[in-house]
């Protein structure tokens, strides 16, 4: 059973079909990406997966349970970091816990051990407007992560799904159920250098916290570097054109983008996307 599975999704807006008969799946611990040109319906697919909008056809399952059109089951990080300017970073990231009924103070306590893990040490009491794009993005990641933890019962004092102790990093593995996170172009707003740093940081962190994620990107290099599998989306209406598995394990991808293998993947992707566009 897949962690998250979408079957034959079709979504229309005002009579126009945006995505058509899309089926994708995400396995536990996996990191997959949706790669495609703008307008291929990637964000629409995310809105369906997150339950924010209901598809005309098809179903979404999380851990085998149907969640079509029901928000709150899958965490979703939108394209903008959307840190609330009126909340300190600690209150921004612990918001998912507060929304589930935790007291503000308890939520802060539960969230603060993760600040070091996410490279946010010392930023707890800052307001987001005073932070750089890279730091804001880290905070948004942490909020998404905590949101996933909440959904899977991985936060003590919230929910009952079997879990003992939550040292940072181990929480994801201990959880009885796994959560899924959808990240919509999480790195696109950053400059090249910050982006590179965050890619490295992200790969390292994903080894420790094993968050299962789908992310949207239109950056081919980024997709090859970070993913286990890539779904190539094309066309209007958007369809899944192809699926590519990136074979080298994620832990061994430090200099991956300098290898011939990497270039071969890139050629293949450009070829497929190019062919689809000219067709």
């Amino acid at each position: 059973m897949s962690l998250l599975e979408a079957k034959h999704i079709t979504k229309e807006y005002t009579g126009r079909t945006i995505i058509k008969d899309i089926s994708i799946h995400l396995e536990t611990g996996e990191l997959i990406s949706l790669l495609g040109l703008s307008g291929s319906g990637k964000t629409t697919l995310f809105q369906v997966l997150s339950g924010l909008t209901r598809p005309e056809m098809g179903e979404v399952f999380l851990n085998g349970r149907e969640i079509t059109g029901r928000p709150g089951a899958v965490s979703y990080m939108l394209q903008k970091d959307l840190l609330l300017p009126h909340k300190k970073v600690i209150d921004n990231v612990s918001l998912p816990l507060v929304l589930k009924g935790m007291k503000k103070r308890e939520a802060r306590e539960a969230a603060s051990p993760f600040f070091a893990e996410f490279g946010l040490e010392g930023y707890q009491d800052q307001y987001p407007d005073r932070m750089s794009g890279g730091m804001r993005q880290r905070a948004a990641f942490l909020r998404t992560y905590l949101s996933t933890m909440v959904q899977t019962g991985g936060i003590p004092g919230l929910g009952t799904a079997g879990l003992t102790g939550t040292e940072p990093g181990s929480a994801g593995q201990d959880s009885a159920m796994h959560g899924a996170a959808l990240l919509d172009e999480p790195f696109s707003a950053l400059d090249t250098i910050t982006k590179g740093q965050l890619h490295t940081w992200y790969l390292e962190m994903m080894q420790r916290i094993r968050l299962s994620t789908i992310f949207i990107t239109h950056d081919i290099d980024e997709a090859i570097l970070l993913s286990d599998r890539i779904y190539l989306m094309t066309g209007r209406p958007g369809v899944i054109e192809h699926e590519i598995r990136i074979l080298p394990p994620r832990e061994q991808r430090k200099k991956f983008n300098l290898t011939q293998e990497f270039l071969d993947y890139k050629k293949q992707i450009i070829h497929i996307l190019g062919a689809a566009e000219s067709a």
Binding site: Q47, S50, G51, L52, P71, G72, A73, V74, S75, Y76, L78, Q79, K80, L82, L84, P85, H86, K87, K88, L95, P96, V98, L99, K100, Y127, D129, S147, V150, Q151
Partner: protein, 256 residues
């Protein structure tokens, strides 16, 4: 500290202009270019202010009470209306035009009517202040609610937030800036609104006192009242700014 000295530098031109105007005014009166019965000199006004101080304070207390109760009711009413209008679109369609119409009615025209209906006590004055103050706040809040980032609302929904939580964590805080902008305007209207309604009937209050000294042609006293009204209004605006900074600490050190 640096911010403070910058603050002073920024306000210096206004202060100098004000001082120059007062000096010019005094010179005009002192030289006899303008007769004293038409325009009292600043010195005469200050003297009148000092002599009348206890009387002025007595009337100011009444006016301030009317302004405060009116403003508080106005805020409450504006908050309820704006929030309901934001929640129910049809309510907004029904009420918004009416709200505008209430603003086009001249205050001076309805004040006597209010006195007729409610008597010479505080009630008609408070009502008039409510009518003048609730509009800028309601419109400010409504604009604030509408200006909320829809993506932030989507994010909240994806995190499983309900309508009340979305209001509390996203909508209301993002409307606060607009609310205080409206409140600042309303605070400056509140005292003037109370004074105008006192002109048309009443036993105490700065407006009542103003008509009294006007009838006595005591223009120095008249000016003293005007200055007191200005000072009170400025203090109220300063209070609103203070509250704004307390309520919105994340904007500290930022210009509006």
């Amino acid at each position: 500290m640096k911010e403070k000295s910058e603050n002073i530098t920024r306000r210096l031109p206004a202060a100098i202009t004000l001082v120059l105007i007062v000096v010019l005014w005094e010179l005009l009166c002192f030289s006899g270019a303008v007769p004293a019965y038409m325009l009292p000199s600043p010195v005469a006004v200050v003297k009148a202010f000092a002599q009348d101080f206890p009387t002025l304070m007595f009337h100011a207390a009444t006016t301030l009470q009317e302004a405060a109760w009116g403003l508080l009711t106005g805020i409450l009413l504006a908050f309820m209306m704006a929030t309901l209008m934001d929640r129910f679109v049809n309510l907004e369609r029904a009420w918004y035009p009416l709200m505008i119409i209430t603003q086009t009615i001249p205050t001076i025209a309805i004040a006597p009517l209010l006195v007729l209906w409610m008597g010479f006590g505080m009630a008609p004055k408070i009502t008039l202040v409510v009518i003048t103050t609730f509009f800028p706040i309601a419109v400010g809040l409504l604009d604030g609610y509408h200006s909320v980032d829809q993506d932030a609302v989507s994010l909240m929904r994806a995190m499983g937030a309900n309508r009340v939580q979305i209001f509390r964590h996203v909508k209301f805080p993002s409307a606060l800036g607009h609310f205080f902008a409206g409140l600042k305007i309303s605070a400056s209207y509140a005292v003037v609104g109370a004074v105008i309604s006192e002109w048309l009937g009443g036993f105490e209050g700065l407006g009542v006192y103003m008509t009294r000294v006007k009838k006595a042609y005591a223009f120095d006293k008249m000016f003293a009242v005007i200055f007191l009204i200005v000072i009170i209004s400025l203090l109220l605006i300063a209070l609103v700014n203070l509250l704004r900074n307390l309520a919105m600490p994340w904007t500290a050190g930022r210009e509006e």
